[in-house]
C-alpha cells in the first residue's frame, strides 16, 4: 500500500509512464481525455500511453471509465476535451472505420456479432471486405496459425459464447493491427486456452503489435502485462508495473481500499441432500443444442458444488432443465428435498424454493426494457408476498427492489431504472440479490461473474457463501476456475453433455480441472460422488 501511495505522486508517475513504454516509442498517447454524460463525468482528464509492442493493462471497476476511454480510442465516442496522438502524430478518431484504418482493432466484451449471419459474413463486415473465398482461406490460415478453429459457414446464432469470442479475435488478427484492444478476453476460456491465448498475445507483442488488455483478473494482468493504468471514478489514479505489484495491492489501487481477502471455504460437512439429479438424459431439440447424457448429481445442505466447463457443453440445457424452463422426461430425474419435480413448471419449482440465475443477464435473467421493480416481481412473486388481492403491489415490489439495491450496493438511477440501463456488473448484482433475498433453499447459478469487475464479483461470491452457510444448497456453473476452486466444496465438469465425477476442490489443481473440462478422467484420484451418493442414500 505504501508503494501504491508513492505512485500517486506526480513525479513518480511520469517517470513510470515513460518506463512503461519499455524504451520503445509510444504508439498511442491519449492526453487529458474528458467525457461527460448527463450527471456523470465518465472520464476526467485521463492520460494513457501505450508503447509499441507492449502489453498494457487498463484496470478499474465497473463505472471507472474504462469502456468510455476505450470507446474514445476506437472512435465510437467523441471526447469533450483532450487529444490523441498516434505514432507521434495528432489524430482525431472520428469513427471505428477510421480507427481500423489507423491500425486499431478491438475485441468487444459484449460481442458485436450478427446472429443471423455466418462466421464468414461477420468477419467480412468487421473488416469491410467482401465475403469471398479469398477471405475464407485467410480465415483458415489465421485460425490454424493461432489454434483458433472456426467453421466459416456456420450461422453465429448456433455458436457458443466461447466460439463467438474466437470469431472476434480472428477478425481482429486478420486486420493485422498495430494496436489490439481486448476487453475481458479470457472470461470464457479454459486454463489451457488461456495459456494458449497468452502465448499468442506474447508472440504478437514480440512482432511489434501493441495490446491494450482490459481485465478484472488481476493475476492475469500481473503475468501478462508490462504496464497498467488504473482508473477509479473516471480518473486515472495510478500507473504501475504489474509485475512489481501483488494481486492485493493492485486490487487496493483499483478499489481505493483493501478488499476483504477472499476466504477459501473451509471443508464443510455436507448436510442432508437437498437437491439431486438422477440419470437425467435429455435429447437435443435441434443441431444447435447439446444432448445431456446420464447426468447424476447431489448437492447437500450448506454445500456449494461447482460445475466447470467451456460454454456450449450443455450448461444452458442443464440449467434450463433444473430451473424448469425445460421439463425432464420423468418426474424422478430432478429431486428437490427428495420430492420429484422433473415435470413441474419453473414457477412451481420456485415456490418450493428452487431458484435459478441463468447466464444471459439481459433478455433471460432480466427483461431489458422493464424497470428493476417489474423485474423483481417477475421472479420474486412466487416466494414473496408481492401481490395484494391478486393484483401486483407496486409498492411492495419497489420496497424489495430498493432492499436489493441497498444490500448489494447496486449502482443505478433508482428502482425504476430500466434493467438495460445498468452496467453488466451492477445488473448481475441485482439479479443475484433478487434471488438471494427470496431465501431459496436451492440456488442454481450460471456464470455469475462473467464480465463483472472484482468488486461486484466479491459481493456476489460473499452472498453465495453466506447463503450456503445458512443452509441452502448452491450449484455453481462456471468457466472461471479461480471462482470454482475458491468457493466450491466439490467440483465436476461438463463436457459434451456428460458430467464428470465430482472431487473435493481442496484436492484438485487447476490443471486437473482443465483435464475434466476436456472430458478426461482423473484415474489417480478417488471420485467422491459415487461414494457420497451411496452414503447419503443408504
Amino acid at each position: 500500500m505504501s508503494q501504491a501511495s508513492n505512485l500517486t505522486n506526480p513525479s513518480a508517475l511520469s517517470s513510470l509512464a515513460n518506463g512503461s513504454a519499455t524504451g520503445s516509442a509510444p504508439l498511442v498517447v491519449m492526453r487529458n481525455i474528458t467525457k461527460a454524460y448527463p450527471g456523470v463525468l465518465a472520464n476526467d482528464a485521463v492520460n494513457l500511453t501505450i508503447g509499441e509492442g507492449s502489453i498494457h493493462a487498463l484496470l478499474g471497476e465497473n463505472g471507472a471509465g474504462k469502456s468510455t476511454l476505450v470507446k474514445v480510442l476506437y472512435g465510437l465516442l467523441k471526447p469533450d476535451a483532450g487529444s490523441i496522438s498516434w505514432c507521434g502524430e495528432q489524430v482525431s478518431i472520428a469513427s471505428p472505420a477510421m480507427a481500423r484504418k489507423l491500425g486499431i482493432a478491438m475485441v468487444f466484451q459484449h460481442f458485436s456479432l450478427f446472429d443471423s449471419l455466418s462466421v464468414l459474413e461477420n468477419i467480412a463486415l468487421g473488416m469491410g471486405v467482401k465475403a469471398n473465398d479469398k477471405l475464407r482461406s485467410r480465415i483458415a490460415d489465421v485460425s490454424a496459425r493461432y489454434g483458433l478453429p472456426l467453421d466459416p459457414d456456420r450461422s453465429v446464432y448456433t455458436l457458443s459464447v466461447g466460439v463467438r469470442q474466437r470469431i472476434e479475435i480472428v477478425r481482429c488478427l486478420l486486420q493485422e493491427p498495430k494496436l489490439l484492444i481486448m476487453d475481458e478476453p479470457t472470461s470464457v476460456l479454459t486454463p489451457q486456452e488461456v495459456a494458449d491465448l497468452f502465448e499468442t498475445l506474447r508472440q504478437l507483442a514480440k512482432s511489434g503489435m501493441a495490446i491494450l488488455y482490459i481485465s478484472h483478473k488481476l493475476e492475469e494482468i500481473r503475468v501478462l502485462c508490462q504496464g497498467a493504468t488504473i482508473l477509479r471514478g473516471g480518473r486515472k489514479v495510478s500507473e504501475v508495473v504489474p509485475e512489481e505489484q501483488s494481486v492485493a495491492s493492485l486490487a487496493a489501487l483499483m478499489m481505493g481500499g483493501e478488499i476483504p481477502a477472499a476466504l477459501r471455504r473451509s471443508a464443510i460437512v455436507a448436510g442432508a441432500p437437498l437437491f439431486a439429479i438422477k440419470e437425467l438424459n435429455l435429447p437435443a431439440k435441434d443441431a444447435n443444442e447439446v444432448s445431456l447424457h446420464n447426468i447424476n448429481l447431489v448437492v447437500g445442505k450448506g454445500e456449494i458444488v461447482g460445475i466447470a466447463g467451456v460454454a456450449g457443453n450443455g450448461q444452458d440445457e442443464l440449467l434450463a432443465t433444473i430451473s424448469g424452463e425445460r421439463l425432464a422426461t420423468d418426474e424422478a430425474h430432478i429431486q428437490f428435498n427428495e420430492t420429484p419435480v422433473g415435470r413441474q413448471s419453473a414457477g412451481a419449482r420456485r415456490r418450493l424454493g428452487l431458484c435459478s440465475v441463468p447466464e444471459e443477464r439481459l433478455g433471460h435473467a432480466a427483461v431489458p426494457n422493464l424497470s428493476l421493480i417489474d423485474n423483481v416481481f417477475l421472479t420474486a412473486h412466487h416466494r414473496k408476498p408481492l401481490r395484494r388481492l391478486g393484483l401486483i403491489s407496486h409498492a411492495r415490489s419497489k420496497a424489495l427492489a430498493n432492499d436489493i439495491i441497498k444490500q448489494f450496493n447496486v449502482q443505478c438511477h433508482g428502482a425504476s431504472a430500466l434493467a438495460s440501463s445498468l452496467s453488466g456488473g451492477n445488473l448481475q448484482k441485482f439479479i443475484v440479490g433478487r434471488e438471494i433475498l427470496q431465501s431459496p433453499r436451492v440456488l442454481v447459478i450460471s456464470q455469475p461473474t462473467w464480465g463483472v469487475d472484482a468488486g461486484a464479483a466479491a459481493t456476489i461470491h460473499r452472498a453465495l457463501a453466506t447463503l450456503a452457510a445458512n443452509g441452502a444448497a448452491v450449484l455453481l456453473i462456471s468457466q472461471d476456475l479461480d471462482e470454482l476452486m475458491q468457493y466450491c466444496d466439490r467440483i465436476g465438469a461438463l463436457c459434451a453433455g456428460r458430467l464428470s465425477a465430482f472431487y473435493p476442490s481442496s484436492q484438485l489443481t487447476a490443471q486437473q480441472v482443465g483435464l475434466l473440462m476436456a472430458g478426461e478422467k482423473l484415474d489417480a484420484m478417488q471420485a467422491e460422488q459415487g461414494a457420497a451418493d451411496e452414503g447419503e442414500h443408504s
Binding site: G75, L76, S95, P96, A97, M98, A99, R100, F108, F111, S112, L113, F114, D115, S116, L117, E121, A124, L125, G126, G128, V129, K130, A131, S155, Y157, D286
Partner: protein, 307 residues
C-alpha cells in the same frame, strides 16, 4: 376454352406485377430493420402522380418516373419521421397510409373519369412469335419484364454484394453495425427510399396498365397484401416472386371464378390470400433456422446512435 385459360393467365401476370414491385421494395426495407406499413399510401400517391404526369405529357415514361418520385417522396417523409425524429414506425406507417389515401384523392379529383391509352406491350422479337408461349411470356409491357429483373437484382444484391451484407447486418443488429462504424441511419434511409420507389412504381402500374385510369383508393388493399407477402416469403426474394404470383392468381380466380365455373363464394376467395399467409406462417415457424437466418431481428426498433 384455351383462349379463356390464356387470357386468365395473362391477367394473373398483370395482377401479380404490382404485388411484386410493392413487396420486393418492402422486403429490402424490412431487411434493413425498418417496418414501413405505409405501402398502401405510397402506392396510391404513386398511382395518381404517374397518371397525372402521363396524362399531361402524353409520355408513359414520364408517368413511370413521376410514380417513382412520388413514392420516394412519401418514403422520405416516413424515413425522416422514424429515423431522424425516431417516431414509432408502426404508427407513422399507418399514418402514411391514411395520409396517402387522402392526398391521392385530393390530387386525383380532376382526373376521375379520364381514360388513358395505357402502356403499350413490348413484344420481344422472335420469342414472341412462338405460339401460345410467346403471347404468355414474351408479349408484355416493359414493367412486367422489369419486375423479374428487379427481383433477380435484389436477390443478387442481398446475397452476393458487400453492400447487401451491410444492409442485412443493419437489420440484424443495429448496435453491432454501429459499433463497426456502419452508418445505420443512412443505410436505412436508402432502403426506405428504395421501398418507396418500388411502391410508387407499383402504383404507376395500377393506374397506367392494370386499369388505365384514376379511381380513388384504387390500390384496394394491395399494399397490405404486399406486406403479408414479405413475411410469407420469409424475407427471401425468390419465394416472394412465387408468392406474388400465387396471390395474384387467387385474386384473379376470385374475379373470374364464375366465368371459369368455380362455384365458391367470392367472400371466401377474397379471404384466401390472408388464410394462405396464416397457414404458411404456421408452417414456416417450424423451421426456426430459416427464420433466424432471414428474419431481420431488429425490425421496427428505433435506433439511438449514442448508445
Amino acid at each position: 376454352m384455351n383462349e379463356t385459360l390464356l387470357l386468365t393467365a395473362l391477367t394473373i401476370i398483370t395482377a401479380a406485377t404490382p404485388l411484386v414491385y410493392a413487396a420486393i421494395g418492402e422486403l429490402v426495407v424490412e431487411r434493413s430493420g425498418v417496418l414501413n406499413l405505409g405501402i398502401e399510401g405510397m402506392m396510391l400517391v404513386g398511382a395518381v402522380c404517374s397518371f397525372a404526369a402521363a396524362h399531361y405529357s402524353g409520355a408513359a415514361s414520364l408517368g413511370i418516373v413521376a410514380g417513382i418520385m412520388a413514392g420516394m417522396l412519401m418514403a422520405a417523409l416516413f424515413a425522416f419521421l422514424t429515423l431522424k425524429l425516431q417516431s414509432s414506425q408502426v404508427a407513422t406507417g399507418l399514418a402514411l397510409t391514411i395520409f396517402g389515401i387522402g392526398v391521392s384523392a385530393l390530387i386525383g379529383q380532376s382526373f376521375v373519369g379520364i381514360a388513358y391509352s395505357g402502356l403499350q406491350p413490348l413484344p420481344i422479337p422472335v420469342l414472341s412469335e412462338i405460339p401460345v408461349l410467346g403471347r404468355l411470356l414474351f408479349n408484355h409491357d416493359v414493367l412486367v419484364y422489369g419486375s423479374f429483373v428487379l427481383v433477380a437484382l435484389v436477390s443478387w444484391f442481398l446475397k452476393r454484394t458487400h453492400a447487401g451484407l451491410i444492409l442485412r447486418s443493419v437489420g440484424d443488429s443495429h448496435n453491432a453495425a454501429h459499433a463497426l462504424g456502419i452508418k445505420v441511419i443512412r443505410v436505412r434511409f436508402m432502403a426506405t427510399l428504395f421501398g418507396g420507389a418500388c411502391a410508387g412504381l407499383a402504383g404507376a402500374y395500377l393506374s397506367m396498365v392494370y386499369t388505365p385510369m384514376w379511381v380513388e383508393n384504387m390500390s384496394a388493399g394491395r399494399g397490405w397484401i404486399a406486406l403479408a407477402l414479405v413475411v410469407f416469403a420469409v424475407w427471401q426474394p425468390g419465394r416472394l416472386l412465387l408468392g406474388a404470383y400465387l396471390f395474384g392468381a387467387i385474386s384473379i380466380l376470385q374475379l373470374h371464378g364464375q366465368a371459369l365455373g368455380i362455384n365458391v363464394p367470392s367472400q371466401l376467395m377474397s379471404m384466401l390470400p390472408y388464410l394462405v399467409t396464416i397457414l404458411v406462417l404456421v408452417l414456416i415457424s417450424r423451421d426456426r433456422g430459416r427464420i433466424r437466418r432471414n428474419a431481420p431481428a431488429s425490425i421496427g426498433q428505433a435506433f439511438h446512435p449514442t448508445t
